[in-house]
C-alpha cells in the first residue's frame, strides 16, 4: 500500500516512518503540510516530532494547516490515518480522535522502551496480534498523558476502541507501569469507524532487530491492510 507521510514544520520522525514503511515493503512519500492533495487510496501517517515547536499545546497549531483539512476529509472517506506521538496529539486537537494529551504526570520527557498490551485484535491495526499479546515499543514524549471526560472513557472501553495499554514486563496494567499517568493506562486508541489510529509509542522504531525489536511491524503492516497472514 502507499502512504503519505505528512511533514509539518518541526516534524522529526517523518523520515523514520518512510524508512520503516519501505523496509516493510510499502510505498511511502513525504507530503508538505501546505499541500492539500491526497490520493483516494493512500494511507496517511502523521509522524512524531514537535510540529510548530509544540508551542502553546502539542498539535494545536498543526491542526490548522491546509493538509489537515484534506486529512480530515480522507478520514471521513474511510482512508487509513495513523498518528504517532505528535501525530496522535494532532489527531486529538483536530477532533479526529476524542480526548487530549497533556503533560506527563512526572513532568519529565521520557524516552525508553515501553511494554504494551494489545487490548483488542479486532481492528485492522492489531489484527496481526492476539488479545493480551505483549509488545515492546519505545516511547519518547513529554506530553503523552491521555485525558478525556469520564463519559468518553466509558465509550472508548465499551466500543473496544482502546487498542494498547501500558503494562509491565509481565503484562500487568499497573500504575507503576504507566509512564505518563494516562487515564486507563491508554497508549493508543482508534476512532469508532476503525480507520484512524492514534498512539504515543513509536512503532517505526521497532521494525528492525538492530533498532531494538520487531514488535512495531504488525501495526504498520496492519495499517497497510496486511493482517496476521503476513
Amino acid at each position: 500500500m502507499r502512504f503519505a507521510v505528512v511533514q509539518f514544520p518541526g516534524s522529526n520522525c517523518d523520515q523514520d516512518c518512510v524508512h520503516a514503511l519501505r523496509g516493510l515493503g510499502q510505498e511511502a512519500r513525504l507530503v508538505w503540510h501546505h499541500e492539500t492533495r491526497l490520493d483516494p487510496d493512500e494511507g496517511v501517517i502523521l509522524p512524531g516530532g514537535f510540529s510548530y515547536g509544540d508551542y502553546l499545546r502539542c498539535g494545536a497549531i498543526a491542526r490548522f494547516s491546509p493538509m489537515m483539512q484534506s486529512v480530515k476529509a480522507a478520514a471521513e472517506r474511510g482512508q487509513v490515518v495513523v498518528g504517532i506521538c505528535n501525530g496522535f496529539q494532532i489527531l486529538c486537537e483536530a477532533g479526529l480522535l476524542p480526548g487530549a494529551l497533556t503533560r506527563n504526570e512526572g513532568l519529565h520527557f521520557r524516552c525508553e522502551p515501553s511494554h504494551l498490551r494489545v487490548e483488542s485484535p479486532a481492528s485492522r491495526f492489531t489484527s496481526g496480534y492476539g488479545t493480551g499479546q505483549m509488545l515492546r515499543i519505545p516511547i519518547a514524549h513529554g506530553e503523552g498523558c491521555y485525558r478525556a471526560e469520564p463519559k468518553v472513557l466509558e465509550e472508548l472501553e465499551a466500543r473496544q476502541q482502546i487498542l494498547f495499554r501500558y503494562c509491565d514486563a509481565e503484562g500487568r496494567v499497573t500504575a507503576e507501569a504507566n509512564p505518563n499517568g494516562s487515564s486507563h493506562s491508554i497508549a493508543g486508541i482508534r476512532n469508532q469507524a476503525g480507520n484512524v489510529l492514534g498512539m504515543m509509542p513509536h512503532p517505526e522504531r521497532a521494525c528492525e532487530p538492530e533498532m531494538g525489536g520487531l514488535d512495531g511491524k504488525g501495526i504498520l503492516l496492519g495499517a497497510a491492510g496486511i493482517g496476521r497472514s503476513a
Binding site: P9, N12, H19, W32, F50, D54, C111, R205, E210, M211
Partner: protein, 747 residues
C-alpha cells in the same frame, strides 16, 4: 567619553587599544571598538591559548578539514562519507539561566555542524556540577541547576530531532559555583558537500537568514552602558532564549539550499559576536571584503543602535553568500520554511568590513585585522606551590587497619557519583533518526550512518573528562582521559578517527592556573600522537571560577571512530551466565591516587594517577577490536573510575545479567588498591569457553596480557582477593545503582 576610556570599559587593554589605533591609523569610533572588543576576546581570538593549541597534532590521512580552518573539523569515514564534529561550552550562560543557557549551547553547536554542510545526527553532553546531596542551600541550588540544564538540553535536542546519545554527568564541590556544560554534535556529509565559511566573488549577495535580531546577549564584560539608548537601558537582557523550532527549520532549509549545485558560495553561523564575527571571518577567509546595510537586518526590537545590532547574540541566525543571480532560489527555499531571508550586503574586494546604517558608514575596518590580528599572549605558567603536597598521601592514615571492602562497595553503589545516569538520558530522545545502535549506558555510543552509495557505516563516539585526575596531575590526567576515550571506542570495536576537545580552566592570568592548561594541552597532545589521533577542533572556556575558587582543570575530549567491519557489538553487561571472564591488559591496579574510591568512600582527594603506558594501551585497543570480531564474545567493558571491582559490579547490572565468581589479582598492595585503583589499560571481556583459545592466542600475538578472572552465573557477585572472599547480592548493588541519582535529585 574618550575612545580609550570606552575601550577599557569594553574590556580591551590599553595595549590593545593602541594596537587598534596604530593599525587603523586613526581613532576608532565606538561601534568599531565594540567590534574589536568581541573579536579580540578570548572566546573568538584565543589570544591567551593560541600558542598552546599549536601543540596539538592536527593532521592525518583522515583529516579533511583541519582544526581552526572552519567552524568544525571534518574527517573521512571511507566510501565518500565524511564526519563533522565539535564540542562547545556554555558554562557561564548555564550558571545564570540553566535552562536557556544549556538550550542555546545545544543550538550553537548544532549550527557549527550544519554550517559545514553536514546533517546533524547526534549530540552528546558533558555536565559537571557541585554535589546534589550537599546539605542546605548549596545542594538545593545544585539540584535546581541540574534539573534546569538537563531540561534545557532535552528541550532543544529533542525538538530539533537529533538524538542525544551519550555524555557524562559528574559531581564535585569544585563545580558548585561554576557548573560546566559542554555539548558535542556530530554531523554526516559526503566529501563533496563540505561547505566553507568564505566570502568570495565580488558582487555576490550576502544574505541574513533565520530569526530576527534583538538585544540578546548584550551584557557582561564587553558592554558599556554609555552607548545604550535610554530605552534599552531600562531592559538590558543578558539571557539569550533559544528557539529549537526555528533551529530545526533553519537547518532543514540550509541543507536544502546546499543541495542546489553551485548556489552557495560561503556560509557561516552567527554565534558569539553575531553579525560582527560572521562578516569579518568570512571576508578574511575569502580574502575579500563585505559591505552591509544594518537597516536591512531583520529586527525584533525597535531603536537598536549599530553597536547593538552588530554585537547581538540572538540565536538561530546564519550568514549566507550565494552566487549572484541565484537570489530567488534562496528566497523561495526560506519562504517555504517560513524563515526570514534578507539580502543585507555584497562581497567586495576591499578587504574591509564596511557597515552602513541608512547609507551612512558606521564602521569601516580591515577584515583580517578583526578576525586574525588579535594579539597573541604568552601567559606565565608556574607549578602550583601546593602540588607536591597534594600528591603526597599516606594510605595508612586514610584506610582502616582492617579492610572493609564489603561496606565500601555498597557505599560506592549508593553514591550519586556512580549511579546510573538513566535519569538524564531518559529525558533525551536518544533514538530519533533510527541510527542509534548502541544507546546511552554503554562505554561508547554507536550510530549506523548511511554511506553515500548505500549501506551503513557504524560510527562510535564518546565524551570523557576527569577533573579529579587532572587536578592532581594535569599532564598525566589529560593523557589518561584521552586513553580512556580511546579505550571506550575500542570496547565498541572502533578505530578512533579524530578528537575534539573543550579546555575548561580558570583565569589564564593566574600562572598556576595557566600551568594547568599548558600541562593539560601537552598531555593530551602526547596521547593523541601515541594514538595517531588528530585533534580536529575544539573550544576554550577560561575564567571558570567562583568566589570559592577555580574549578578543577577540566579538559573534556570527544573522540569519534569507525567500527571495524567484522566487529559484532557486545553489550557492556554480562549475559545470563555461563561465560568466562578475562581481563585484557595489565594486572597492575595503579593504586588509589586520585581515585573516585578515596573521594567517595573516604572523603579525600589525594595522590595522583599512575602514569599511562600509551604503548601498551594502544596494543590493548587493537587486540580488543580483534577479539570483538570473534564469535562467542558476550560482553565487554573497560575498567575506569571505581576500579576493577566497580567495573565487575556494573557488568552485573544489565536486564537479566548474571552475577559471577571472580578472583582479582593482587600483589603486595592492599586489597582496596587492587580492587578500586583506577590505573589505565584494562578491559574486561565475557566470552564463551569455546572461544577462549582463539582469544588467548590473539592476546598473545598482540602482546597483551590476559588473565582469567572467573565465570558468570548466579545472583551474587562473589570476589576473592588475597584469599579473602566477599559476596554481594547483585540485587542490592543494582538497587543502589538505579536509585542513587533519582534519590539525590528528587522528582
Amino acid at each position: 567619553m574618550k575612545a580609550k576610556e570606552f575601550a577599557l570599559k569594553l574590556g580591551l587593554t590599553e595595549e590593545e587599544f593602541d594596537r587598534i589605533q596604530n593599525g587603523l591609523g586613526r581613532e576608532p569610533n565606538e561601534t568599531e571598538l565594540g567590534m574589536f572588543s568581541v573579536m579580540w576576546s578570548e572566546h573568538c581570538s584565543y589570544k591567551n591559548t593560541r600558542k598552546e593549541l599549536r601543540k596539538f597534532p592536527t593532521t592525518g590521512p583522515a583529516v579533511l578539514v583541519k582544526a581552526g580552518e572552519e567552524n568544525a573539523g571534518v574527517v573521512d569515514a571511507g566510501d565518500g562519507l565524511a564526519l563533522a564534529f565539535k564540542i562547545e561550552s556554555h558554562n557561564h550562560p548555564s550558571a545564570v539561566e540553566p535552562f536557556q543557557g544549556a538550550a542555546t549551547g545545544v543550538g550553537g553547536i548544532l549550527r557549527d555542524i550544519f554550517t559545514m554542510g553536514a546533517r546533524p545526527v547526534a549530540f552528546m553532553d558533558s555536565l559537571r556540577f557541585g554535589r546534589p546531596d550537599a546539605p542546605g542551600e548549596a545542594g538545593k541550588r545544585t539540584r535546581s541547576l541540574i534539573h534546569g540544564v538537563v531540561a534545557g538540553i532535552s528541550h532543544y535536542g529533542n525538538c530539533v530531532g537529533v538524538p542525544t546519545v551519550g555524555g557524562e554527568l559528574v559531581f564535585d564541590p569544585a563545580y558548585e559555583g561554576n557548573p560546566l556544560v559542554n555539548v558535542f554534535c556530530l554531523g554526516t556529509l559526503r566529501h563533496d558537500q563540505i561547505r566553507r565559511g568564505a566570502a568570495k566573488g565580488v558582487g555576490n549577495p550576502v544574505f541574513y537568514v533565520g530569526a530576527k535580531t534583538g538585544r540578546d546577549g548584550l551584557a557582561g564584560a564587553a558592554f558599556a552602558s554609555r552607548d545604550l539608548t535610554e530605552e534599552s537601558k531600562a531592559d538590558r537582557p543578558a539571557v539569550q532564549v533559544g528557539d529549537p523550532f526555528v533551529g530545526k527549520l533553519l537547518f532543514e532549509a540550509c541543507l536544502e539550499l546546499y543541495a542546489r549545485p553551485d548556489l552557495v558560495v560561503g556560509v557561516q553561523d552567527m554565534g558569539a559576536a553575531g553579525l560582527t564575527c560572521s562578516t569579518c571571518e568570512t571576508a578574511s577567509r575569502g580574502g575579500s571584503g563585505i559591505e552591509i546595510e544594518l537597516r536591512k537586518v531583520p529586527q525584533r526590537e525597535t531603536g537598536m543602535t549599530p553597536f547593538e545590532t552588530l554585537l547581538s547574540e540572538s540565536q538561530e541566525r546564519m550568514l549566507i553568500i550565494v552566487r549572484k543571480g541565484r537570489e530567488r532560489e534562496l528566497k523561495e527555499i526560506f519562504a517555504r520554511w517560513g524563515l526570514d531571508a534578507a539580502e543585507i550586503g555584497t562581497v567586495t574586494d576591499t578587504g574591509r568590513v564596511v557597515v552602513m546604517e541608512g547609507g551612512k558608514v558606521v564602521a569601516d575596518l580591515p577584515a583580517r585585522m578583526l578576525a586574525d590580528d588579535a594579539p597573541v599572549y604568552e601567559r606565565a605558567a608556574m607549578t602550583p606551590a601546593k602540588l607536591a603536597e597534594k600528591q603526597k598521601y599516606d594510605l595508612g592514615k586514610i584506610l582502616p587497619a582492617q579492610p572493609r571492602v564489603k561496606e565500601d562497595l555498597l557505599k560506592l553503589a549508593r553514591s550519586p557519583a556512580t549511579g546510573s545516569r538513566r535519569w538524564v538520558w531518559n529525558q533525551y530522545d536518544h533514538m530519533v533518526g533510527l541510527r542509534t545502535v548502541v544507546r546511552p549506558g554503554s562505554d561508547a555510543a554507536v550510530l549506523r550512518v548511511e554511506k553515500p552509495g548505500g549501506g551503513w557505516v557504524r560510527v562510535a563516539m564518546t565524551l570523557d573528562g576527569n577533573g579529579r585526575w587532572c587536578a592532581q596531575d594535569p599532564r598525566e590526567g589529560s593523557k589518561a582521559l584521552v586513553a580512556e576515550a580511546c579505550r571506550n571506542l575500542a570496547c565498541a570495536g572502533a578505530v578512533p578517527l579524530g578528537l575534539t576537545d573543550n579546555l575548561n580552566y580558570g583565569n589564564p592570568h593566574d600562572p598556576e592556573l595557566f600551568w594547568q592548561l599548558r600541562e593539560g594541552v601537552e598531555g593530551m597532545a602526547e596521547a593523541c600522537r601515541a594514538f595517531d589521533l588528530p585533534v580536529t577542533g575544539g573550544n576554550v572556556s577560561l575564567y571558570n571560577q567562583s568566589p570559592s575558587g577555580p574549578i578543577h582543570p577540566t579538559p573534556v575530549v570527544g573522540v569519534v571512530g569507525k567500527v571495524d567491519e567484522g566487529v559484532k557489538l557486545a553489550p557492556a553487561v554480562f549475559s545470563t551466565g555461563g561465560g568466562e571472564v578475562v581481563l585484557l591488559g595489565t594486572t597492575a591496579s595503579g593504586g588509589l591516587g586520585a581515585s573516585l574510591y578515596l573521594q567517595e568512600v573516604h572523603g579525600v582527594i589525594a595522590g595522583k594517577l599512575a602514569a599511562v603506558d600509551l604503548v601498551s594501551e594502544k596494543k590493548l585497543h587493537a587486540v580488543t577490536r580483534m577479539v570483538l570480531a570473534q564469535p562467542g564474545v558476550r560482553a565487554v567493558h573497560d575498567v575506569g573510575e571505581g576500579g576493577i571491582l566497580w567495573a565487575l559490579a556494573e557488568m552485573t547490572f544489565g536486564e537479566g545479567s548474571a552475577g559471577g565468581e571472580f578472583r582479582v589479582p593482587c600483589g603486595k598492595e592492599r586489597p582496596e588498591e587492587a580492587l578500586f585503583g583506577e590505573g589505565a589499560g584494562r578491559i574486561l571481556v565475557e566470552l564463551d569457553e569455546t572461544s577462549m583459545p582463539t582469544v588467548e592466542n590473539l592476546a598473545k600475538e598482540g602482546g597483551v596480557e590476559l588473565t582469567h578472572l572467573g565465570r558468570t552465573g548466579g545472583k551474587d557477585l562473589q570476589v576473592t582477593v588475597h584469599g579473602a572472599e566477599m559476596i554481594w547480592p547483585v540485587a542490592e548493588l543494582r538497587d543502589g545503582f538505579e536509585k542513587s541519582l533519582p534519590k539525590a535529585l528528587g522528582p
